[in-house]
Amino acid sequence: MGRVAPSFEEVGGKQQPAVGLGETVSRTVSELRVAYESGRTRSLEWRQSQLRGLLRLLAEEEAAAFRALREDLGKHHAEAYRDELGVLVKSANAALREVWVPLIAFPARAQLEPQPLGVVLVFSCWNVPLGLSLEPLIGAVAAGNAVALKPSELAPATAKFLGDNIGKYMDATAVKVIQGGPEVGEQLMEHRWDKVLFTGSPRIGRVVMAAAAKHLTPVALELGGKCPCIFDTLGGSARDLQTAVNRVVSGKWSSCAGQACLAIDYVLVEERFVPVLIKAIKSTLKRFFTDSDHMARIVNARHFQRLSGLLKDTSVAASVLHGGKLDAKNLCIEPTILLNPPLDSAIMTEEIFGPLLPIITVKKIEDSIDFVKARPRPLAVYAFTKNAALRRRIVEETSSGSVTFNDAVVQYGIDSLPFGGVGESGFGQYHGKHSFEMFSHKKAVLTRGYLIELSARYPPWDGSKISMMRQLYRYNYVGFVLTFLGLKK
């Protein structure tokens, strides 16, 4: 249960590489380059066959996938389907349907030709280990690249599942799974890639980007942040209140027990409304989590220590209103609610990534906008409100990867919405067509004929040539023609 060896995260990529590791990684990278340069991954047929292979994998090996996720994270298979497999099936089907490979309309005068970038590297993360590996993979193969996938070693059962199956269902010479910890990550980043997508912590994001800079490798970083949830009074409708609380509880604890970049990190609510909210959350928690089976566990001992550590601070401990029970043996922390822990405590300055929910009170709900603005930009801002003016202010005055009103986390499954961060939550967006674009180069191609020759562009220059160019740049075609004909200066 959980690995003893330090993760890539912990060591910041500074391990001594194992003997032979460098060569193994180099060999893998050259194999991928050879595969890409053969041109095989460019064809529509290849891309479609990979996507179909992936779909078959997800269908045929579903039970094994569920088992792996249960082993790694204690994830219930319904959550696993809802958040990982189901989403992947949807995405792969969408990619197959869309046919983003353009028909080269020849001869066109000016066109944008999306081309694969080449050989790309995807670093996945442990909390949605299948989803964060395969969703980028869908985009990368749809765009015609050769791909190296490095699953997180902190979810070893899923990593093994991927290692065992990807080669069986997809083109193993052009799509490779590379296993290992920080030392492997470091070796991989010694090489030049045509793109790297990294999902994980800002600390390692910096390490990855710095390594990429040496080769001018373009990167996309999907990081995290503290996703706030602004909870307004909802006009007194009990039913709507319950709906909202269902969604808040789900958005916190049903997403890998809060260990999700899109999970609600903390709630902002008006002082006077706190009792109603807390009562509703408590009863919903009771209804949803009838036993520990329905909530994921903490991924490993290190994160368990980190989360328990957040509660050790005396003034934080004093603010615990509900829950707080720690089960170190099973790596379980029960859903915990805190009321107004100190704003400078670790639980309010670091991304929680766990089942602890601070509730911060404000005098007026509008004050939450300044609260959010004063802090680093998160991956998502959530707000439950019926107030259109407040909604508009939140969209216009706060900045985040995305904003979702009256729900949480569900934006992840919507293809038409780009998924990615801004500022400290990262850069680069994917999902749906954006995945295709993330792994493509949009080459501009302009074709000219020989017929129309514009002598004005050539030296030696004189006043009339300059005049002509002025007209042209002003799109003043009449003026241009007159000047050309010598009838205007």
């Binding site: 189901g86 000016a110 904003v403 919507i414 680069g428 949009k442 302009l446 020989y450 030296p459």
Partner: protein, 475 residues
């Protein structure tokens, strides 16, 4: 504007952050006003700008006008015309999974951005950012003119010019920016990206490369020669990132091409090119010496077939053409960025592909041919930032095509709406209602719920209806 140290820069950035946080740069009115100010500056200061460019580069007036003034003006006009459209949130289809809901993508400014040596700063303003411009110190007259003029035409609390060299640039790079836009070479590009990594700042790097020109024998020779010459020597005398760097053509066609180029060059610059006012000089003595070294290499100097004249005093080098220099010579290994044009010959034109692919990906790849099959193969087989067939350089002016590199030639693209996007964050916004509560998504999980979830995620309408109607009931 005097050069400043780290403290001055830090204070500048803090001031810009405050202005941005106060929302000063967000409204369409402010953005439009800045763009109009830039337009006025380009119009009113045209003569001064051209004089400065002439001082820095001996740039012919027309070149300055076309490449700098006109481009800035047309960028401003294009941005003004499209501003409202770009700022408008785009509705996108929300999924049935979240019915009822509306989804949209809205463009928001990134914040405070740093633009190093690029002339397309109008778009960073159009996107609503606060901007620091760091003009190239290699063109000092232009740099100080910009520093002097810009504050007179735009809101200098939100748009600043910081001049200087290595020290100032280093100080700037230490600050935290919301985006860095750098134009220049790969070596500095790496330094910029490494600094950006410390703050997780996204970057756009417009770098260089050796832009190849493949010339088939099936062409209109005279027009081809003119367009190559205009792109090579008519753009700062070869000192432009998209200048044709070298030519590849067949052994049989090379003499004809050379002859045509020679004729064209004589027409453009006369028989004493060093005295032509239409030819820019080399920007400074460092670069002059670098180019001189490339030319004087013993394996290369005997391959000169046209030109070769130079004047150290004026820092001028005449258009010079080489025939079949060794592929491992300096002139074929680094980006030339000057008026030297090697012609490499091959037996069959298709051999040019392998040669180009053996080099790093360039910013632009050019092809002259009337053979549509060759064109198709070139488009499919060569990777470059952009591609232009039967002309050189002009794709730069098309506001509808993204301009940017790939691989060593850079990261990110811009021009027109792509610039606006480069300086924006596309924020996804989802608005849900309270109806359509789907119990199936919540724990405690059951087989019945999972069945419905499967259906919903597969797009099965029946399942969606069930989900929306709250099945399975009673949980």
């Amino acid at each position: 504007m005097a050069a400043r140290g780290g403290v001055g820069v830090e204070a500048d950035v803090a001031a810009l952050r405050a202005q941005f946080a106060a929302g000063r740069t967000r409204g369409a009115e402010w953005r439009a006003a800045q763009l109009r100010g830039l337009l006025r500056m380009a119009a009113e200061a045209e003569a001064e700008v051209c004089r400065a460019l002439h001082a820095d580069l001996a740039k012919p007036y027309t070149e300055s006008y076309v490449h700098e003034i006109a481009l800035v003006k047309s960028s401003c006009r294009f941005a003004l015309k499209n501003l409202k459209k770009w700022m408008k949130p785009q509705k996108v289809s929300a999924s049935l999974m979240t019915f009822p809901s509306t989804a949209m993508v809205t463009a928001e400014p990134l914040g405070v951005v740093l633009v190093i040596s690029a002339w397309n700063y109008p778009f960073s303003i159009a996107a609503g950012n606060a901007v620091v411009l760091k003009p190239s110190e290699v063109a000092p007259a232009t740099s100080s003119l910009l520093a002097e003029l810009l504050p007179q035409y735009v809101d200098s609390t939100c748009i600043k010019v910081v001049e200087g060299g290595v020290a100032e640039t280093t100080a700037l790079l230490e600050q935290k920016w919301d985006k860095i836009f750098y134009t220049g070479n790969g070596k500095i590009g790496r330094i910029v990206m490494a600094s950006a990594a410390k703050h997780l700042t996204p970057v756009v790097l417009e770098l260089g490369g050796k832009c190849p020109v493949v010339v088939d024998s099936n062409v209109d020779l005279h027009v081809t020669a003119k367009r190559i010459a205009a792109g090579k020597w008519g753009c700062n005398n070869g000192q432009a990132c998209i200048s044709p760097d070298f030519i590849i053509t067949t052994k049989s066609f090379a003499p004809k091409l050379l002859e045509a180029l020679g004729k064209v060059l004589e027409k453009f610059y006369g028989d004493e090119p060093l005295r032509s006012s239409d030819l820019s000089r080399i920007v400074n003595s460092n670069h002059f010496n670098r180019l001189k070294k490339l030319m004087d290499d013993e394996n290369v100097s005997d391959k000169i077939v046209f030109g070769g004249q130079r004047d150290e005093h004026q820092l001028k080098i005449a258009p010079t053409i080489f025939m079949d220099v060794p592929l491992d010579s300096g002139i074929m290994k680094e980006e030339i960025f000057g008026p030297l044009l090697p012609i490499i010959t091959v037996d069959k034109i298709h051999e040019s592909f392998a040669l180009i692919n053996s080099m790093t990906k360039p910013l632009a790849a050019y092809l002259f041919t009337k053979d549509s099959k060759l064109q198709e193969q070139y488009e499919a087989g060569i990777s470059a930032g952009g591609m232009l067939v039967n002309d050189t350089v002009v794709h730069l002016t098309n506001q509808y095509l993204p301009f940017g590199g790939v691989g060593e030639s850079g990261i990110g693209a811009y021009h027109g709406s792509f610039s606006f996007e480069a300086f924006s964050h596309k924020k996804a916004v989802l608005v849900r209602g309270f109806a359509g509560e789907a119990a199936a998504r919540y724990p405690p999980y059951s087989t019945a719920k999972l069945k419905i979830l499967r259906g919903v995620l597969k797009g099965n309408l029946g399942s969606m209806i069930q989900a929306i109607l709250g099945f399975p009931r009673g949980k």
